[in-house]
């Protein structure tokens, strides 16, 4: 009934991964041999039979997806007319929307926490995009919101973003831009 420790480790990593992961990367992350990882993947594949999940691979890249039979439920959930973002992702989106163009370092310094994962999520939802590189040390990417973002939030343009007043009554976007 119990799974091997390697299979549990592979499952956890694939669960959080937002893109397919190669067997070599899995082996490196888990600290296991290629053979053990191959066995773990076979074990998982077997295990997911009859569950809501399944293991999918293209060549040597693996990912967990929902089982095709569950498609009606998944689209009922995702298709509902409501944007679903974690509160972390919503905060990151707010920073990018009000401050664009913003680099990852700027977003992180404003939020005070690492934003790698949320930026990736927002990019894959096409709510934000890379605008180009800033002419600054390290040439960081600048991020901005997309056309889909305006569409999703029902905004005619960025000027239609709700204006937020700071406690001093300054419009927050002005306050930040003048910093």
């Amino acid at each position: 009934m119990t799974r091997s420790a390697t299979a549990a480790g592979v499952e956890a990593v694939l669960f959080v991964a937002e893109k397919p992961v190669s067997r070599a990367e899995l082996a490196k992350t888990i600290g296991a041999g290629n053979k053990a990882v191959a066995e773990a993947l076979a074990e998982l594949e077997e295990w997911y039979r009859g569950t809501g999940l399944r293991l999918q691979h293209e060549g040597d890249d693996w990912q967990i997806v929902t089982a095709p039979e569950m498609a009606p439920f998944v689209s009922a959930y995702l298709g509902a007319d409501r944007l679903r973002l974690s509160s972390a992702a919503l905060e990151t989106l707010a920073v990018v929307a009000y401050r664009q163009p913003a680099t990852r370092a700027e977003v992180e310094s404003i939020r005070g926490v690492n934003c790698d994962q949320t930026i990736y999520t927002l990019m894959s939802r096409r709510l934000i995009e890379e605008l180009g590189r800033r002419e600054a040390p390290g040439s960081p990417f600048e991020y901005g919101t997309t056309w889909e973002f305006l569409e999703c939030f029902g905004l005619t343009s960025l000027d239609a973003l709700p204006s937020v007043l700071t406690p001093e009554g300054v419009r927050s976007d002005d306050a930040v831009r003048s910093q």
């Binding site: 995702l78 919503l90 707010a94 929307a97 992180e108 994962q117 939802r125 939030f153 709700p162």
Partner: protein, 244 residues
């Protein structure tokens, strides 16, 4: 995950606060928090506060508050006529302080349990998603504005917090100053000791120093009426050669 510098959380001389110091004293003496007479801890407590090299001004008042209550409890046990004026004055009873100590001990135990979990590092992770191909829809601009406001509020606080820590005083240093002064001048008032426009921290450190000198029988403290001037007098040593 934090990025960038953060102001450190201050802890004074290894203690998280006055209640922590008091608990430590009880443990050191292998006493029972349920039965110890808290007034008996006044001397040990003041000695510890005195030994602290420096205290940030705003922390001193917390230590002073407990010190003054311990001294009051001790005084009451020596002079039973000093029993509380009214029973409404619940804040002054020994039981109230004991309950606070017990509650703090519980909190400390919980904090340690959380700390153990934190150090074990066995956190969990959720999925941020990302494998979804459907175009996003149904965003709420007000929710977005609220998130922005929240981030702004936290950022603003971090800017406010970067103030330089205020003045620091050493109780020991202040005690030595007053002791030298009283050796030359047999009587003075609390007001003169404070001088013009004292800061709160300075007043508190001066007051703790006086409590300590009083405990060590160096001075006498009198006050003729409530809120009247506090007079400080050099204590006449009845028997020369007695040291603490």
């Amino acid at each position: 995950m934090p990025v960038g510098p953060r102001p450190p959380d201050v802890s004074v001389a290894g203690f998280e606060g006055p209640l922590d110091l008091l608990l430590e004293l009880i443990e050191e003496k292998k006493l029972d928090v349920f039965s110890v007479r808290l007034g008996d801890l006044a001397d040990g407590y003041l000695a510890r506060v005195r030994a602290m090299a420096t205290l940030p001004a705003d922390e001193v008042s917390a230590f002073l508050y407990i010190a003054s209550r311990l001294v009051l409890l001790k005084a009451r046990s020596l002079l039973p006529s000093l029993s509380p004026a009214t029973d409404d004055d619940e804040a002054d009873t020994e039981e109230e302080l004991r309950l606070r100590l017990i509650e703090y001990a519980t909190t400390k135990g919980r904090a340690e349990a959380l700390g153990d979990r934190m150090r074990a590092g066995e956190r969990v992770f959720h999925r941020e998603g990302g494998t979804v191909d459907l175009p996003p829809k149904g965003g709420d601009p007000d929710a977005l504005a609220a998130a922005w406001l929240k981030v702004l509020a936290i950022t603003r606080r971090s800017e406010e917090e970067v103030e330089v820590p205020g003045e620091r005083y050493s109780v020991e240093q202040r005690t030595a100053e007053i002791e030298a002064l009283i050796a030359e001048q047999p009587a003075m008032t609390f007001g003169t000791l404070l001088g013009e426009r004292p800061t709160l921290g300075y007043a508190i450190v001066t007051f703790i120093a006086l409590l300590d000198l009083y405990r060590r029988l160096v001075i006498d403290i009198t006050q003729d009426e409530l809120f009247g001037e506090i007079r400080i007098e050099r204590k006449v040593r009845r028997m020369e050669g007695i040291s603490e």
